[in-house]
């Protein structure tokens, strides 16, 4: 699917990328003003990956996400008000204030959750795909993870199981060049992390992760194979996080020049140029405004919502009834 030629698709892709960016800028701002608690991992600069990938999915497909998961959540169709309410520790948040940013999930849209554990979601995606197979169906699971995750045992075990069982999983590596402060090039001896796929007997490709079209094409191919019963694949999307790893990052491990060079390659500005023949300037401006309005509305409704209730703190530790 060409994301730039059809006006409705172009609008959706652009609006979603802007929504992710504005949502995270709002989070950054709330945090800076002391209105948000904990820590946050922002994906500003990486918006093309979740948007390009999720456009290859349909209802009923699953994703597993990461600590840097706001973009995945939004791209898979989550409600901004429930997300923002979660980050503001409200009872109306996706996790009733229990989870926060690192544990947001939206089970209704197939988002099985962000994860505080690097590579934690990888074998879970394999399991969701196994379940699809056992239940009979053609859904696929996409597992998002970072460049740092590919060096965890859980990653290798999860990927191998998907490969040997030929499960419908697409492993999407968001290679933003660093795992916290560790350069991806120092954490692996291969030039391309996609080369790891060969070791498990599945296809692997590396694409420009700042181009939603390139991400989309690669993920759509892999999803197509997976739905057709041809097993998993690995897509490595090269991108960059503009902000620090989390709230405590002093950026000692990278240079201002490097950050600036990647900011020049802003995936959103680039996509706006790519859709210029399809969408008029006012239509593009409208996408931006809709994103701003949606985020503002989410912040407003979240602020007005009741705080998470400590009185019911121990309620959800165990599920009730029979499985």
């Amino acid at each position: 699917m060409d994301l730039t030629k059809d006006a409705a698709t172009a609008r959706h892709a652009l609006r979603t990328m802007w929504t992710i960016r504005r949502f995270e800028e709002a989070v950054d701002d709330l945090f800076a003003r002391g209105l948000m608690h904990g820590t946050m991992h922002l994906s500003i600069g990486q918006e093309a990956v979740p948007v390009g990938a999720c456009l290859a999915l349909r209802d009923g497909d699953y994703i597993t996400s990461t600590h840097r998961g706001h973009g995945h959540c939004i791209a898979k169709g989550a409600r901004l008000d429930a997300m923002m309410a979660e980050l503001l520790a409200k009872e109306t948040g996706y996790c009733r204030g229990r989870g926060g940013s690192m544990h947001i999930a939206d089970v209704a849209t197939g988002n099985l959750g962000a994860n505080g554990i690097v590579a934690g979601g990888v074998p879970i995606a394999t399991g969701a795909a196994l379940s699809v197979r056992l239940r009979g169906g053609d859904a696929v699971a996409v597992s998002f993870f970072g460049d740092g995750a590919v060096n965890e045992g859980a990653w290798h075990e999860g990927v191998n199981l998907a490969a040997v069982w030929r499960l419908p999983v697409v492993f999407v590596c968001e290679n933003n060049q660093y795992g916290m402060s560790m350069p991806a090039t120092r954490a692996a001896r291969v030039d391309r992390l996609a080369e790891r796929a060969a070791a498990y007997g599945m296809p692997g490709v590396t694409v420009d992760g700042n181009d939603p079209q390139a991400v989309h094409d690669a993920v759509a191919d892999a999803v197509h194979r997976a739905r057709a019963g041809q097993g998993p694949a690995l897509v490595e999307a090269l991108t960059y996080r503009w902000k620090g790893h989390s709230k405590s990052d002093k950026n000692l491990y990278r240079t201002r020049d490097e950050i600036d060079a990647w900011r020049e390659r802003d995936p959103i500005a680039r996509f706006e140029r790519a859709v210029a023949g399809t969408l008029s300037e006012p239509e593009i401006a409208d996408c931006r405004e809709q994103a701003v309005a949606a985020v503002r509305a989410a912040v407003r409704s979240a602020h007005a919502a009741p705080d998470a209730d400590a009185g019911s703190l121990t309620d959800a530790v165990y599920a009730e009834g029979a499985a």
């Binding site: 608690h37 520790a89 554990i117 703190l313 121990t314 530790v317």
Partner: protein
């Protein structure tokens, strides 16, 4: 914490600085000592503990690793078995779960399984505890997991001086030692000896003497218990505070001596109550010479049996606070 003027030979340092000083002194004194962990080099550690050590000792001895906890601990086991003294930093103690095979099935048992033919002198440092809004996978207090495994020693320093002295003793020890630091304590200051004085493993410290009740608290609950004791003193209740410092081996005698004097015992930990570490202390007291001196049932004030939630007000409610300790202690003394 309030800080008294530093005694001769000491100066005021933060807990994090004290840990760094111990690491630097150990590395200076012994070439076999080296560090490995995620983001401990240029980044200086997720909590800033290793700081500038990479610039002082180089990348060979302050090794930044990929995100591979099982591999890191396993590599430390192998290095320890063959003559080195590795000190591993696991970024959050929760991620020891990734490394559990190497900790539990390998490091803890090799000396025994080999009939004493080899030793595994490794130290694993990791911050535990809640209070930072990091939620369920970054806030646990897992000391009971480790204390339950024969072959491991477990240390929980609660002051800057102990953070230094216990770590130095842990590095000397021929066994695998798990040092559980607390995130909320890293910025606390206190007097720390300049020299590399060891605090022997297995010695508890009476932090405050008391006549009416003994509070035994671990980790961040030690300063909270001391704050509670101060408030209780204002109500005419004399609460003593004992800090075990080492959970395994446990200095039971110091605790028993105090219980014999006070006749009342309140155990305070941050970890969830069920199967928590302080249950071991309760059992030790119940089976000891102090039993007949008890005038009240043994009290246990612990974290709720719940994963640590994100919302600040819920997170606070999940673990004991100073006012909870005051209330429980007052109840024990007034009712019995």
């Amino acid at each position: 914490m309030t800080t008294a003027p530093a005694a001769p030979g000491t100066r005021t340092l933060t807990y994090a600085d004290a840990v760094r000083e111990a690491l630097a002194q150990a590395m200076t004194a012994d070439e076999r000592v080296f560090l490995l962990g995620e983001d401990i080099g240029t980044y200086g550690g997720a909590f800033g503990v290793t700081g500038d050590l990479v610039h002082r000792f180089g990348e060979e001895r302050v090794r930044d690793t990929p995100i591979s906890e099982l591999g890191i601990v396993g590599a430390a086991v192998g290095a320890a078995l063959t003559g080195m003294r590795p000190v591993v930093e696991i970024q959050f103690s929760d991620f020891t779960a990734q490394a559990m095979d190497q900790i539990v099935n390998q490091a803890a048992k090799i000396h025994f399984m080999l009939g004493g033919a080899a030793t595994v002198p490794l130290v694993l440092r990791a911050p535990g505890g809640s209070g930072t809004g990091a939620a369920a996978q970054h806030s646990q207090s897992l000391e009971a997991w480790f204390a339950h495994v024969p072959g491991l020693k477990v240390v929980m320093p609660s002051t800057p001086a102990d953070a230094k002295g216990l770590l130095l003793a842990a590095i000397d020890d021929p066994n695998p030692v798990i040092v559980l630091e607390h995130k909320l304590l890293y910025k606390d200051s206190g007097p720390v000896p300049e020299d590399a004085a060891r605090v022997p493993l297995g010695t508890a410290e009476v932090r405050r003497p008391g006549a009416d009740l003994t509070v035994v608290a671990t980790g961040v609950m030690v300063p909270r218990a001391l704050a509670a004791a101060e408030r209780l003193a204002g109500e005419g209740i004399s609460a003593g505070v004992v800090d075990p410092r080492t959970l395994r081996p446990l200095d039971t005698e110091t605790i028993l001596d105090s219980v014999v004097e006070t006749g009342r015992l309140l155990l305070v930990q941050e970890a969830p109550k069920t199967c928590g570490y302080v249950a071991e202390i309760a059992a030790a007291v119940a089976g000891s010479r102090a039993f007949g001196h008890l005038r009240a049932p043994v009290g246990r004030l612990c974290g709720l049996d719940v994963p640590i939630p994100y919302a600040p007000q819920l997170e606070r409610a999940a673990v004991p606070q100073v006012e909870d300790i005051v209330r429980e202690a007052r109840d024990l003394v007034r009712r019995w």
